[in-house]
Symmetry: C2
Subunit: 330 residues, 2 copies
């Protein structure tokens, strides 16, 4: 089985560039890039408010070969960055991929990684504009994504006291799928397949982000580290506390079916669903929820210790579990 070390950098970069060009991946919604993959930098015209984000994923930390294929890793690395652009109420345009891979990395795995990246770039109408390929002992994928915003971007800090808190769709499915994969569960039911797919191939809510901005919402973020962690981030950035009625959090039928009473906790603590969390005056939030099937109001922002969050059960009491979010380096 051929490895990266056997080909060497020059041949590898040419192989990738040829594939990207053959896939027509240098096209954005606005047209072809002025300079695409293969030069010192990529170039294209932008007129207006640009948004840009960069996130990295590391083998052993963010993904494992046992629960994700390399194509899944490529897909998720791209889509998680598209999701950050969606969370600004912006339209994704083009991305760059900096890869660190061992010399022993199989060429077929590199091809699979690009399968996933190219599928994702096509699914969101984005261009693959360039990047870097370096030698590293543990694999990492660092994606930069750019987008354009037709108005002021949605921010985490724009929440106001008494704003309703809402999410654009069901939470917890990705973590549930990961649990099934880690347990070695077979995809032998529709529910299990749905949850595993939610983990391996999450979607970014670009249309929802654009709709929120059009409807007058100003405060949003994507739920990537889990609602428990992300509600606190949004509240803290807005200088407020938050209250979440856990019974109102939407969950997928497959999650309720497969995990029963655990579903609510997975919805609070699980990450990587890439739905959007937003805050807005109640009338605007209700209009947004009516416009976005699957979305729901789940609580409110309120005066209090910035970043404090209460997660309440159906009787209004704090839930009996920790409701902590995922914290890296811990």
């Amino acid at each position: 089985m051929a490895t990266l070390g056997e080909l060497g950098e020059t041949a590898l970069l040419e192989r990738i560039a040829a594939r990207v060009r053959a896939a027509g991946a240098d096209r954005t919604p606005g047209g072809r890039l002025a300079v695409g993959i293969g030069d010192d930098a990529a170039a294209w015209r932008v007129d207006g408010m640009q948004v840009i984000t960069a996130d990295a994923m590391v083998e052993g930390e963010h993904f494992r070969a046992s629960t994700s294929s390399w194509a899944d890793v490529g897909w998720k690395a791209w889509v998680s960055n598209v999701s950050d652009v969606a969370a600004m109420g912006a339209e994704p345009v083009a991305g760059l991929v900096a890869l660190g891979l061992p010399a022993s990395f199989p060429l077929c795995a590199l091809d699979a990684l690009y399968d996933g990246i190219l599928e994702a770039r096509a699914a969101y109408g984005t261009a693959l504009a360039g990047g870097d390929l370096v030698s590293a002992q543990a694999a990492f994928v660092s994606v930069t994504m750019t987008g354009v915003c037709a108005g002021d971007p949605l921010t985490r800090s724009a929440g106001r006291a008494a704003d309703a808190l809402a999410v654009t769709g069901p939470l917890g499915s990705s973590r549930a799928g990961l649990l099934l994969l880690e347990r070695g569960a077979q995809p032998d039911s529709e529910a299990r397949r749905t949850l595993m797919q939610a983990h391996r191939r999450p979607s970014a809510r670009v249309d929802a982000g654009l709709a929120l901005r059009r409807l007058g919402v100003r405060c949003a973020m994507d739920v990537s580290d889990g609602l428990a962690a992300d509600v606190r981030k949004l509240a803290r950035a807005s200088g407020l506390a938050a209250r979440v009625e856990t019974g109102r959090i939407p969950v997928a039928g497959a999650l309720a079916h497969e995990f029963g009473d655990e579903a609510a906790r997975l919805a609070v603590e699980g990450g990587e669903d890439y739905e959007l969390l937003f805050a807005a005056p109640r009338a605007i939030a209700e209009e947004a929820v009516a416009a976005l099937p699957g979305s729901a109001i789940i609580g409110a922002l309120e005066e209090g210790t910035p970043g404090a969050a209460a997660f309440l059960d159906a009787r209004g009491d704090p839930v009996g579990w920790d409701a902590a979010g995922w914290e890296r380096f811990r």
Copy 2:
């Protein structure tokens, strides 16, 4: 000594964001970012041709703690990306930093890394717009840099047969400095200090890139992997062969003083000097060389096998050594 693992992600990100804001690092030449560090994405206005590049550096592959301080690593990660923007004839605007670090990484080393990044961002008038911090066994730094170009970007592929090949300044100093550092040499002479500094704190030639474009040059790249490798890349992208008269390559006085006869080879094979290599019709190249002190015409592009390069001595014979460039994964 406190480590990243003891603080946890939330406290680390707040520490970095507070420092970036205190340094005024959310300012570009065009003004403050619309959204800076700490949200899902950064945002600012762009009107015109944008360029964008992403390069990663990995501990043990691109740098070692024995020859570079963490501040040097931060500086070089930023500046190497500024150099890619300079090579397009563009002005750098803002960058993002995705860091992978072990939980055992000392907090003081993280602070030093940001010392170097913030020094570099200030030196080039660029904003630090955001990024990511993830857990990784071996440290890596992946920087994305954006810039704006007032006209068509300089590309590697715009070279024409009979164009003169030229460089904007002396080559080989960075590699020579690395050799001295690896040998444990003391910085006990002006020459040695100059070479070590060239390795630890290289400069990007933003002004030279802008001048080249204004003077009508259309083909350029930066010399990051070494002239031997980079001449071949430029020639290949332009569908041409190249000829380099090695005696014409400018070298620093310190390099000639310290390395004597080895200087020419270091100038051909050494990388990370971040001077610009450009190709242009002879009259334009001569005008550019007259305008840019330290620059020199070193050869020409010519019909032939695309990407082939001849490195000639003073008598017009091929040099007696390999003249291969640095190739990763090998």
